[in-house]
Symmetry: C2
Subunit: 471 residues, 2 copies
């Protein structure tokens, strides 16, 4: 098992001077080997040490991305796609050196097909940028992982977040992609039809492939009509079990709740300290309902009745957008707030996702683990999807703490697998979960993944060292 | 372009006597080379001539399937999975000879996890069987392609049908699979978690792979709480354009309609003749609404208002299950009824699926084509998904008719591609649409498919000749 702490560098394949010179000449000011650029592109929200590439290029088109990939292929040098750098699983780290392709300049909205409920954007467009651009159409893009990630990065990690319980993840919401393959070809993986049985599902193969099979340069996503009515609520519970049971029962009853998020007492305390608020420090559900006026009222009533049975009584409601934003602030600032519980600490964010019937016991067992540990471990959960995060804060200069964090992390992942779940619900594999994939899919399953990787990227230049180990 | 008519046999790799003897000894009565068995397994609802395998085996477990595949691999002989034989694209035809694996004896319901809204079944369980088995749980499985297909076959062809507009296709409703790979390993592609970012999406790679990458032996699907209220309606329109516009506007407004099916006047006439009914022979929408009592009422009202704007006024409603079944009978019997328009004819079923903004013009252009043709070509549509079928009936003994059917079919597919759609929304590629994939995904896209196939099935024994050509 590879430890999460320290430097993840394995064997470097640094970019030779020839390649750097070619890239420098071709991209001019959109090429950098500056220390701060390299450092910034070697760092994300994972617990690893910064692992910079040899250079960064900033292409402005899919054709330019293809040029870079072809050059890297010629030199057998790794090429790593970079979006907003908000990965929690070290996806952007140049563990074997190489060239980082920063897609942030590819931020054009290519088409908004409001009638078809689709939008096509360049990979560097962020979800907030997209939602701002389509505001006047009365439509919205629902996938919300918290961070203002790029659509390309969200597709590449199969991201989901708080609204997935109602609207699905990137798996369901990507209609088609444009991708640069390992030999520098540009492939369109799907048209704009809502469904298709046309051969192997190229779109779904690239979604979640973490830059290891191709570099996504264009994303077509589904949009949804903005609901006629939205209402939000927070409700504290006497215990986590009651909060979790409320959501599980809501899902089982078929109430089409739009968001159902859990913060444990420690997370609420972190938010209070960070945002100078005075929310009651108890396990709390953050809920949102979308629909017509009457359906939202109906949903709210149904959930309140269920909550009452589990000790949740003090619903605080908000309907207009500003009041809702205020109410949800605690949830939205939770991650930075939690990081501030221990400035300088690194966060090991677990990502177990299990069938909802197993969720309550999984969270309870996790709490038992973390109570016995000296490390602070607040818990957040996308409860409706059976997905929760335990954010373990460890001092990177304290080897014992880093080991303890890793031990807890491993226990959470193993418990997820034992509960018929997955070691990662939405953050992806990166490097940290490579050994767990063998436990989740067996050697034969991982062998299929390896063969796919070898078939599509025979030189292993696309984000090597992630998802599967090829050497 | 390969013609649809006639025998599709290319190069045979018949099962050698050694292999037949081994299979016969191993499977005893569950092995057959009887003429009628071979014939039955070489025929589906596609327009091709019957193309039988060399033998049929009837395994009763995934391990037995794996044994067959290992034997076939040793002899480099094709192995073809067979479910209910309801494919419209010749998926089950033994175009190179070989061994058909009939999964109908693998029809056990393995687990119903009502709390998690999932069920796990063997691949030979049909959708009606599953729905009967879970009736008492208050849950249902929504994917409904019309035919009582097996869950394995539905997964393998990425099937969808009339309820996909609300509940999604097999792409969205398969949670995980158990699959026998080309070397006879048994792989579990996913746990029961609702979402996952754990590496390449093995589940979605096998869904829609038409038996060419592995044989699906077990399927875990999503279930849904049976809605509190269901109501159904039929409504005739003065023209197809009005019916189509009604559904498109309904989708764009975000009304969560459960089914929205179109029958053109000729289809209605076929049903009248077949079922001895006297439904008005005009373009007709069949609609279904699911939800709470009030939400169903709200949806119905919204759709009626939209329909009125497009000339649809005479809604006939049904609420209780029997009345609904009677109302929907015309839609459910449409396919056999249409086949009876010309007994002995073969059906070329087109399967264009386009963005809904392009649907009206696509259907209009198709009607113009078919009006100019001597062949009867009734039209059915899953309008809410942008998917419609033109069922072209041709006499297999009349070469000119078969060519004309093929010409019309090609025009419909090309028009779908020109409209940013797909040549197959739900029936799959089979053999007939192999050349179209190149137009849909480009040479580079199809090359990715070929490399995947070669990597996972290097001997090309799994249902060869479908989706991609390897030789």
């Amino acid at each position: 098992m590879q430890p999460a702490a320290g430097s993840p560098v394995t064997c470097r394949r640094p970019a030779p001077r020839d390649l750097l010179r070619s890239l420098g000449e071709r991209f001019g000011e959109r090429y950098s080997t500056g220390e701060s650029d390299l450092h910034r592109h070697g760092r994300d929200d994972s617990p690893y040490d910064t692992t910079p590439p040899d250079c960064v290029v900033f292409p402005e088109s899919g054709e330019e991305v293809a040029e870079v990939v072809r050059l890297c292929a010629r030199h057998r040098v790794p090429v790593i796609a970079y979006g907003a750098g908000t990965s929690i699983e070290a996806h952007i780290m140049a563990v074997e050196g190489g060239v980082t392709v920063d897609l942030s300049r590819m931020n054009r909205i290519i088409a908004v097909n409001a009638e078809d409920l689709t939008a096509t954007v360049e990979a560097g467009v962020t979800r907030k940028q997209l939602n701002a651009a389509i505001e006047k159409t009365g439509l919205f893009f629902p996938v919300d992982p918290g961070a203002d990630a790029t659509l390309g990065g969200m597709a590449a990690t199969r991201a989901s977040g708080s609204a997935a319980v109602r609207y699905g993840t990137m798996r369901e919401n990507v209609v088609g992609l444009k991708v640069v393959t390992a030999d520098g070809a540009i492939v369109r993986t799907g048209a704009r039809a809502k469904k298709s049985s046309a051969g192997y599902d190229l779109t779904r193969i690239f979604v979640g492939s973490e830059g290891t099979l191709g570099i996504i340069t264009e994303v077509t996503v589904r949009l949804f009509p903005r609901p006629e009515a939205v209402s939000a609520a927070v409700c504290p519970f006497p215990d986590i079990a009651g909060a979790v049971a409320t959501v599980i029962r809501t899902i089982q009853r078929g109430v089409p709740i739009a968001r159902a998020e859990l913060l444990d007492a420690l997370s609420v305390a972190a938010v209070n300290r960070y945002s100078h608020t005075e929310v009651e420090e108890r396990p709390t559900l953050f809920l949102e309902f979308h629909g017509t006026m009457s359906s939202v009222a109906e949903q709210a009533e149904a959930v309140q009745a269920i909550a009452r049975e589990h000790g949740g009584r003090d619903f605080e409601w908000a309907v207009d957008p500003e009041a809702r934003a205020r109410l949800w602030d605690a949830r939205h600032t939770a991650f930075p707030a939690i990081l501030q519980l221990r400035p300088g600490a690194r966060a090991f964010v677990t990502d177990a996702c299990v069938p909802i019937s197993r969720l309550a016991e999984c969270i309870a067992a996790t709490i038992q683990d973390t109570r016995a540990s000296p490390l602070p471990c607040p818990i957040l959960g996308h409860v409706g999807d059976g997905n929760f995060h335990c954010i373990i804060l460890a001092d990177p200069n304290n080897a014992a703490e880093m080991e303890e964090a890793e031990r807890l992390n491993q226990r959470v992942m193993r418990r997820a697998l034992e509960s018929d779940g997955t070691c990662t619900g939405e953050h992806g594999v990166g490097m940290h979960k490579i050994p767990l994939l063998v436990e989740e899919f067996g050697e034969d399953g991982v062998e299929l993944m390896r063969r796919l990787k070898a078939a599509w990227d025979p030189l292993n230049i696309l984000n090597p060292g992630k998802i599967v180990r090829m050497t």
